[in-house]
């Protein structure tokens, strides 16, 4: 009886054994975009210059760090992009960055899909705010995954003066969407 109990517990003990963390880097083709709503129209801007890393820890923990240059977001309108750089003070605060942790699974097999909620800190316009971010991860192979996420951000919570057109300000809430391709480093 005792031997059976020990045998049943042995795999559990093995799962606690230390293993190496795995680090994935944000690969080309990744984008972060924003959607901003004004009473007269909606504006979308995308940025392909994203850098970041995600680390899968042996205990199932996940650490994420991603950042993008504020000045590299492109809405298809040069004037509007310049206006965005002005209100976000892109010269003083050149990056929008996100650090997050979560718990998922250390398994990264081809076809595996994970839904995670990351506990994150978003630093935008020099102001850090804590947010929860839902993330969908799909492993295309053991060393490559795509990550999709979208979440709202308040401009005023980050001290950004809402831009206006014809004296009407845009809505405070903007929607951030990320589609990141992750490739394992040394994978």
């Amino acid at each position: 009886m005792l031997a059976a109990a020990l045998a049943a517990l042995f795999p559990l003990a093995l799962s606690q054994a230390p293993a190496a963390a795995r680090t994935f880097a944000v690969a080309p083709g990744s984008t972060v975009s924003y959607r901003l709503v004004h009473a007269l129209h909606a504006v979308e801007g995308a940025c392909g210059a994203v850098e970041g890393r995600a680390r899968l820890l042996p205990d199932g923990g996940v650490q994420v760090s991603v950042r993008a240059r504020v000045g590299s977001f492109d809405s298809g309108n040069g004037n509007r992009d310049a206006h965005m750089r002005e209100v976000t003070e892109a010269a003083r605060f050149p990056f929008v960055s996100l650090k997050a942790v979560g718990r998922g699974s250390a398994s990264a097999d081809e076809g595996a899909a994970l839904d995670l909620e990351l506990d994150a800190e978003l630093t935008f316009h020099g102001v850090a705010r804590r947010i929860a971010i839902p993330v969908k991860v799909r492993f295309e192979s053991a060393t490559r995954a795509t990550v999709e996420s979208s979440f709202p951000v308040s401009l005023e919570a980050h001290g950004v003066e809402r831009p206006s057109l014809l004296f009407v300000k845009v809505e405070d809430r903007i929607e951030i969407a990320a589609r990141l391709v992750l490739e394992e480093e040394n994978g």
């Binding site: 995600a54 950042r67 000045g71 040069g78 002005e86 010269a91 942790v101 506990d119 994150a120 804590r130």
Partner: protein
């Protein structure tokens, strides 16, 4: 043997048991973000000259928007009163001249507003470089360039038509003035509307 097994079992069960759920009212503890996965980005030096330019640009373009709305309103009024003036003089209105002074005043007022509005945009600093390409902002500028040419032509044609007072060609020049007036208002409207796309 059982003396060793008991603590091992207890420890293993503790590991296997899920952690107690946090209370709904309890604030979440801050996440442990004490890790670095990216090289540190150095903070850029504060560029006060650039920030002053941004501030000046914002002020100038805010006034530009206000004067732009005023210019479009004044242009609309000029066209409406101009049509009344035309009807009064050439379409059986009795040639009383009662609208002419209003039309002339509105026309010069519109031209002044337009020039001031354009100057604010053209003279505003550009602290952040802009990609040059065709977008709604360039469509706005192109429409306003057409409107500027139209306004200049309007002033010339209006003065010319008046100088031909009593001659047969006065009406032809006045019709050209009328048509270009509507076209100018159209260009101005397109230039404003295009900004919301």
């Amino acid at each position: 043997m059982t003396g060793i097994v008991r603590p091992v079992l207890a420890a293993a069960l503790l590991l296997a048991l899920p952690a107690p759920a946090a209370s709904q009212d309890e604030p979440r503890p801050p996440p442990d973000l004490d890790f670095e996965l990216l090289p540190a980005a150095s903070a850029p030096p504060v560029d006060l000259a650039l920030e002053r330019e941004v501030s000046r640009r914002r002020r100038m373009l805010t006034v530009h928007q206000g004067l732009g709305i005023a210019t479009w309103t004044a242009m609309t009024a000029t066209v409406v009163v101009g049509q009344l003036d035309f009807d009064d003089r050439f379409r059986g209105g009795g040639d009383t001249g009662k609208y002419h002074g209003w039309h002339k005043g509105l026309a010069y007022g519109t031209a002044t507003l337009f020039a001031t509005t354009a100057a604010l945009a053209l003279l505003s600093p550009e602290p952040y470089a802009k990609k040059s390409r065709f977008d709604t902002a360039t469509a706005h500028k192109a429409s306003m360039a057409v409107a500027a040419v139209g306004l200049a032509a309007q002033i010339a044609l209006g003065v010319w038509a008046r100088s031909l007072e009593g001659e047969l060609s006065e009406r032809d020049v006045a019709v050209a003035h009328q048509v270009i007036g509507y076209a100018t208002l159209g260009a101005m409207t397109v230039g404003a509307v295009v900004l919301v796309f």
